[in-house]
């Protein structure tokens, strides 16, 4: 066992969610400037609020490594190290702590899933944290003043707010349809035995 408490079931879920994020990228991107508007951020929010911080970190981490090793897993079939030298690098790297924070907030209570904790998680993690890394890195890479990069990022806000609402609605529907999705590997199969 590589990481304590992280077993095959968690690994499989992280990999599946990474694949979902990749597939959401196939839906395409809207090029509104140097950083695209993409549905993949919805996948990042969902990973956080559904899988919880640990598995979401692995899921998003997988996507980032796949980008780095040169697979076209980002929207519009982009990938490769060039992305990490480009203006969207900060947002992209921000997905990782973003998903973790989303998971921490959404799952901050052991009680039943709640719509407001889910929404808050998606908002703070999926927007707050992602932008907090994305804006400064974009400013640095493009050699522009921070406030300009910040103003420029306003173009993502409407779309990202919609994604927060979608992530919340989808997570709650998923909880009705398949509550096990929200349990950890060990809990999802209580009596099952693992090596």
């Amino acid at each position: 066992m590589a990481v304590k408490g992280f077993e095959g079931r968690d690994l499989a879920r992280a990999a599946v969610f990474a694949a979902i994020i990749v597939v959401l990228g196939i839906a395409g991107a809207i090029p509104v400037g140097p950083v695209p508007i993409t549905l993949q951020t919805l996948g990042v929010m969902l990973a956080g609020v559904v899988l919880g911080p640990k598995r979401a970190a692995i899921a998003v981490g997988i996507v980032l490594v796949l980008v780095a090793v040169g697979l076209p897993v980002l929207s519009g079939g982009r990938g490769g190290l060039g992305v990490f030298a480009g203006p969207s690098a900060g947002y992209l790297i921000g997905w990782l702590p973003g998903a973790v924070v989303a998971g921490l907030i959404a799952k901050s209570s052991a009680a039943r899933i709640s719509w407001w904790r889910t929404a808050l998680g998606a908002l703070v993690g999926g927007i707050g944290v992602v932008y907090a890394l994305g804006i400064p890195v974009q400013a640095a890479i493009l050699g522009m003043p921070l406030h300009e990069a910040a103003v420029g990022s306003l173009i993502f806000i409407p779309g990202d707010l919609v994604k927060v609402v979608l992530a919340t609605v989808l997570a709650l529907a998923l909880h009705r349809a398949y509550p096990r999705a929200f349990e950890s590997g060990a809990a999802a199969k209580p009596a099952a035995q693992h090596a």
């Binding site: 990999a15 990749v22 090793v69």
Partner: protein
């Protein structure tokens, strides 16, 4: 999933992945922090195209790669023109393009599998902290194998909607997640059964 790798037998292709990455990173940082003039920036970009040529990629590929970053180039050029004037705009745009193209060159001359192996080497010291490099590499391969499977789930859900004459819109993500996560449980069983995780 098709990798962005372009086969070839140039010195760049044959260079060990780890060394190539390290060298690339050093070069990228150097280009970024060097206080460029119009001349040094131009020379730098020319040098990057020179490396492309060394790897066996001609002008057609240069165009293709520049086209891929057209949005970045256009945006930087316009912003800088408005705020810093034409000279600054030229220098900054060329410098940024050079770095991004250099990184892209690393990607198209290195096999995904070689990068994964380099990654395992890099991760080896983390063994002490409970990270199993083999497992990391395996998880990445597993994800690559899963992408077409998940894409097929999406196709089947779309088809089911058409067949039933309904449109779920974004709510179609719910059955996608249910199918995918149940699939993950089946995969987990297969992992256990094959003694992998």
């Amino acid at each position: 999933m098709i990798s962005l790798y372009r086969p070839g037998s140039s010195p760049l292709h044959r260079m060990p992945a780890g060394a190539k990455l390290a060298l690339g990173a050093v070069l990228a940082v150097a280009v970024s922090v060097w206080p460029h003039t119009a001349v040094t920036a131009t020379v730098t970009l020319a040098a990057v195209f020179g490396l492309f040529a060394l790897a066996g990629f001609g002008p057609l590929e240069w165009l293709r790669q520049v086209w891929a970053i057209r949005w970045i180039v256009a945006f930087v050029a316009v912003m800088q023109l408005v705020f810093s004037g034409p000279l600054e705009a030229y220098i900054t745009t060329v410098r940024i393009a050079a770095v991004v193209l250099l990184a892209a060159l690393l990607t198209i001359t290195t096999r995904t599998s070689d990068l994964l192996e380099a990654l395992q080497t890099v991760l080896a010291p983390l063994r002490r902290f409970g990270v199993d490099p083999w497992r990391v590499a395996f998880t990445l391969s597993l994800t690559i194998a899963l992408v077409p499977v998940i894409a097929d789930f999406l196709r089947r859900i779309r088809e089911a909607q058409r067949a039933r004459g309904v449109r779920l819109g974004f709510r179609a993500v719910v059955p996608l997640l249910v199918m995918s996560l149940r699939h993950a449980d089946d995969v987990a069983d297969a992992l256990s059964a094959r003694g992998i995780a």
